[in-house]
Amino acid sequence: MTDIKAEIDVLPGLDSSARLLDVENLHVEFRTQAGVARAINGVDIHLDPGETLAILGESGCGKSVTAQAIMGILDSPPGFVTKGAIRYRGVDLLKLPEEQRRKVRANHIAMIFQDALSALNPVFSIGFQLGELFRVHRGTSRQDARRRSIELLDLVKIPAARQRINDYPHQFSGGMRQRVMIAMALALDPKVLIADEPTTALDVTVQAQIMNLLAELRRERNMGLILITHDMGVVADVADRISVMYAGKVVEEAPVLDIYARPAHPYTKALLESIPRLDMKGQQLNVIKGLPPNLLRIPAGCPFHPRCAYARDVCRADPPPQQYDVAPARTARCHFWTEVVGDEPAGS
């Protein structure tokens, strides 16, 4: 297989025994006219092959910026990575020249976006856009590229792929466009797929189709999948592990069963108690007071303290110094995590 050789040529130092993806102490800031927005303040996440990691959090907490930093597509300026490492199989991507990062992006780590229509080029046919990937990155002949494009559209279950290959993006429904995006992301057989809110704009019935498709492809290809979402239902359905973000930090990380049964961070707990459930009636909704912080002025101490039901004086003065180990493979960034994890979940 020439593809594999191409990979090794691209990435000197690639160590197949090192972790698939390891993000360590990542910091990103946006230098804007209004000031410096500290969007990411020390994020640690990691990913293994075949695994689904969900990054969960509310609008503005830094989910997409984390993904953009991993992909190397940060809007820069104003965005800058100021600290940290992003290691793919041992290679720190932040140290690579742009030329090589572009190749990593195509061949190793791929991403699908929330808004498929704006990510696809409206003036080229679906077939051309898919085929271009093979021609540019693999030097495939026109005819072969076309054949492989049809195979990909089949793979993502576009009906009558052979007929539809010459259609343009606007001729596809929202769900079908998202499938085309998935096809493009998978074209060069990446080992890591980042899906940033892939179904947020879609109906639930279509969401179910797309999530099933992603799970199937992840399994077949033993890919690592990072799913970015704010939907705690979707996470419960598909994730192996969860990282909950707040104000640019991971505040809790845990296997999916543990976090829903016994959250260890007050923010996670409050989120779980604030969503209505399809299978419950007459439920009392807990309200999280206040708003997420303005990133230009993140509160001193623990950034969650103005909204936290557990907050005490120490929280206003000192941020939790570390992610505390709650259990093996479980951490929480809270002074009082023992108390939180010991509390009965409200409303059950």
């Binding site: 019935t205 239902g233 829903y260 399809l278 807990n286 708003l291």
Partner: protein
């Protein structure tokens, strides 16, 4: 459950239809078809009640909302508010009747005029309905409204961009309440909000309903939110209601295949239920409302479809296997919300 008496009904539509013409040509326009956005909707709303309306994108929910508040003119059918047919009223009578039914929109970012102060936005309905509040008392009334929805009355001179999404939605609600309506049509009022803010707005709507005796039409695509807030629920597909009932009937005992598919696709935030629930995966997309299938409109995606489904349109009515109205020839209960053994 006691049988509601007729005077309890504050809103009733009968065979409500909205077709948008599809035209061809620029100078000489000829109609070549119609988008049947709302295609014969009958519903009743009672005093103090919340009727949820759910369905996939494009099924006609927003068009229905606009018809109810008079932002679109119906192609045919009637809308009775307190026994007066709004579609027949004109002039001052129509204006007065419209006061009674107001709307809250989805997008708190674009539905407020950025160049108007919050006070002007909330007080704007008083310009149109000058008889409601004397000019000199307007400011006071606006402050009361701000207070009512949990905003600081001191912020009356601020602009929308100085508020967060959840606060902007409160401004929209205050504006809808200005004319003291009995009915509020909420079109996706919390869809654009973060979960932690969503609960604040839902609780506010519930509190206002209790305090003011409001009736809500609550449109949303999030079936979990609708279950939480609604007393009764109508499920729409391609311009028609396919199933309607009290919250328990729709969620615990759905009988229409479309409702069942929709509910089964909603993920539940509980990983112990993974793979434990009945999963119905619908194939294909919603057909075009310009050219809906004959007979039952759901038949192109329905796993239960028979020949009769293409020939005869199923009426929305109670059936042998469905104690509440369901528009399916083969309506029967199926548990899709909870784990199946």
């Amino acid at each position: 459950m006691s049988q509601p008496v007729a005077k309890d009904v504050v809103l009733e539509t009968s065979n409500l239809v909205k077709h948008f013409p599809i035209t061809r040509g620029i100078v000489l326009q000829t109609q070549v078809g119609a988008v049947r956005a709302v295609d014969g909707v009958d519903l009743k709303l009672r005093r103090g009640e919340t009727l949820g309306v759910v369905g996939e994108s494009g099924c006609g929910k927003s068009t229905l909302a606009k018809l109810l508040v008079g932002l679109e003119k119906p192609t045919s059918g009637s809308i009775d508010v307190r026994g007066q047919d709004m579609t027949r009223l004109r002039g001052a009578e129509l204006r007065r009747a419209r006061r009674n039914i107001q709307m809250v929109l989805q997008d708190p970012y674009t539905s407020l005029n950025p160049r108007m102060t919050v006070g002007d936005i909330i007080g704007e309905p008083f310009d149109i309905h000058t008889e409601v509040v004397p000019r000199g008392e307007r400011k006071q009334r606006v402050r009361e409204l701000l207070d009512l929805v949990g905003l600081n009355p001191e912020h009356i001179n601020r602009y929308p961009h100085q508020f967060s999404g959840g606060q902007r939605q409160r401004i929209g609600i205050a504006r809808a309440l200005a004319l003291k309506p009995e009915i509020i049509v909420c079109d996706e009022p919390v869809s654009a909000l973060d979960v932690s803010i969503q609960a604040q707005v839902i609780n506010l709507l519930e509190r206002l309903q209790d305090e003011l005796g409001l009736s809500y039409i609550f449109i949303a695509h999030d079936l979990s939110v609708v279950r939480h807030i609604a007393d009764r629920v109508a499920v729409m597909y391609l311009g028609k209601i396919v199933e309607i009932g009290v919250e328990d009937e729709i969620y615990e005992r759905p009988t229409h295949p479309y409702t069942q598919a929709l509910l089964s696709a909603v993920p539940v935030p509980d990983p112990t239920l993974r793979g434990q629930r009945d999963q119905i995966v619908l194939e294909g997309d919603v057909p075009s409302p310009a050219n809906p299938p004959s007979g039952c409109r759901f038949r192109t995606r329905c796993w239960k479809a028979q020949d009769i489904c293409a020939e005869q349109e199923p009426a929305l009515t109670e059936r042998e296997q469905s104690a509440h109205p369901s528009a399916c020839h083969f309506a029967e209960e199926r548990n899709v919300v909870h784990a199946v053994e």
